[in-house]
């Protein structure tokens, strides 16, 4: 606490400044009352977004989302550029998740014979690394690993999924989830080595993320060819549900058994109950809402790194909200417009 500000005090103040620019309920009230996208542009100009759409003539929801994301990424890179160790490594860890998504995107695109430069444009900018263009040359995972991935920071995550089998649709999803499991566990242990408030705050956030992935993988695997053993290998070994709930989830065959498996965890039980009371709300929405609550709580403490992770997640939720509202406005379906998740 007393020496945190030597290296990280300025960036903490800056990140909290960014956080106060997150749209509030009054802003959302203004946005939901717009009839056309140009009105939304006007309202967004008065918020922290400013004139980011000034040079765009034809507004579409995808364009607005892209520009919002661009602003977020500029802010993140600004923070990363000013960071020193250990904050620099922490911010890098946050980007590894996006790297995994990019790799999977490139592999899938190559399988479908898409052009590499087109695919690279679609990649998430936070997850860029060198040698992305050469990913299209590989045909199976060990090829991919030895030529490209061994130089990236993701190399240690491939330990469990190197195989000689060719890359195909099913395999790709397995690879994605295996990588993400290794990434989450690595990130969690890194935060624990940082200790103090960072370990506490990030521990809670990452445990929730791990549990959410376990539950989502289980529910999505009903009716597919994924065997229970394979499924169990994809559950991250951190999380409030580990080891009891995970063992029960591995045996679950329908949603009632899933509900029984997570029942002992009060927070998740409430989430499941919310979805059963409210027909409009899916489990995914309930998870997003809970995630927003947890991320807001990270800002209650000072002198830790959790605020950077939480800021990124809250802004992503804000972008999802803006996309939802702009789609409703563009398609003139105002009845569903209030189903965004309010943040502040």
């Amino acid at each position: 606490m007393a020496t945190f500000n030597v290296d990280d005090g300025y960036l903490e103040g800056l990140c909290r400044g960014y956080r106060s620019g997150i749209l509030k309920t009054t802003d959302y009230a203004n946005l939901t009352q717009c009839d056309i996208l140009d009105d939304m542009k006007l309202h967004l100009a008065q918020t922290d977004y400013g004139d980011f759409l000034a040079n765009e003539s034809k507004l579409t929801p995808t364009l607005i989302a892209e520009k919002c994301r661009e602003k977020l990424i500029n802010e993140f890179f600004h923070l990363r550029a000013h960071a020193v160790e250990p904050l620099a490594t922490f911010l890098d860890y946050i980007t590894y998740g996006y790297m995994i998504d990019n790799i999977v995107l490139l592999i899938t695109g190559t399988l479908h014979e898409r052009d590499t430069s087109e695919l690279i444009e679609k990649c998430h900018p936070l997850g860029m690394f060198d040698a992305m263009a050469t990913l299209s040359m590989s045909h199976n995972v060990s090829d991919l690993y030895h030529s490209v991935l061994v130089d990236t920071p993701l190399a240690p995550y491939f330990v469990n999924c190197l195989s000689e089998e060719d890359l195909d649709e099913m395999n790709i999803e397995l690879i994605r989830n295996t990588l993400f499991k290794a990434y989450l566990e690595d990130f969690y242990h890194y935060c624990q080595t940082l200790g103090g408030t960072t370990a506490e705050v990030m521990g809670d956030l990452l445990k929730f993320e791990a549990d959410r992935r376990s539950i989502t993988i289980t529910i999505n695997s009903f009716g597919t060819e994924l065997t229970k053993d394979d499924r169990e290998k994809l559950y991250p070994e951190i999380g409030f549900l580990y080891p009891e709930g995970i063992a029960r989830l591995a045996k679950a065959e329908d949603i009632e058994q899933v509900r029984g498996a997570i029942d002992y965890c009060g927070a998740y039980r409430n989430l499941f109950q919310e979805t059963s009371f409210n027909a409009d709300k899916s489990l995914e929405d309930a998870f997003f809402e809970y995630e927003v609550e947890l991320n807001k709580l990270a800002f209650e403490q000072q002198f830790h790194y959790g605020i950077y992770y939480s800021y990124l997640k809250l802004k992503e939720q804000e972008i999802r909200n803006i996309v939802w509202i702009s789609e409703c406005v563009a398609q003139n379906m105002k009845s569903q417009i209030n189903q965004y998740i309010p943040i502040f």
Binding site: A2, V6, G9, Y10, G13, L14, R16, Y18, S20
Partner: protein, 165 residues
């Protein structure tokens, strides 16, 4: 053992001068610590909320006051340091009392500086979010600032009867 007489043989001026050094040195360290803690948070928060710039300099001033307490005590203590032709028992008393008064003042100001610094940092960040919080946070800092004052009072009492003559 030649070490057994070390406390007897050490000159009281040795203790007294170190005491003066501690009073000013450790106090300044506390003030500096507090200023950098507050200053960095203030810089970061002022990027997105420029209105907080001038008001929050008060936190820096509170930290600076801690260094001033140190200077005052050091000046008071060093006026008592006169050269004596022959050492008597009173001089030994003076030496010890000035040393420990310096230690007291220095450590109290160190703690005070860090305390005001951390409070000032929180104050700057809270003010950036919600302007009405500034005055309330300032009251917390005033209480923190009193800690240094306690150290100075005790230091003055300790050295009141100390003189080299």
């Amino acid at each position: 053992m030649f070490l057994l007489n070390i406390l007897d043989d050490t000159d009281p001026y040795f203790w007294a001068f170190i005491g003066v050094g501690l009073a000013i040195g450790v106090s300044v360290a506390g003030a500096a610590w507090g200023i950098f803690i507050t200053g960095t948070s203030l810089l970061g928060a002022a990027v997105k909320a420029p209105r907080i710039r001038s008001k929050n300099l008060i936190s820096i001033i509170f930290c600076e006051a801690v260094a001033i307490y140190g200077i005052i005590m050091a000046i008071i203590m060093q006026t008592k340091l006169n050269e004596v032709s022959e050492l008597v028992l009173d001089d030994y008393y003076a030496g010890y009392s000035i040393f420990w008064a310096g230690m007291t003042v220095g450590l109290a100001n160190l703690a005070c500086g860090v305390c005001v610094g951390i409070c000032g940092s929180g104050c700057a960040l809270a003010d950036a979010q919600d302007g009405s919080l500034f005055v309330k946070m300032l009251i917390i800092e005033i209480f923190g600032s009193a800690l240094g004052l306690f150290g100075v009072i005790i230091g003055i009492i300790m050295t009141s009867n100390a003189n080299f003559d």
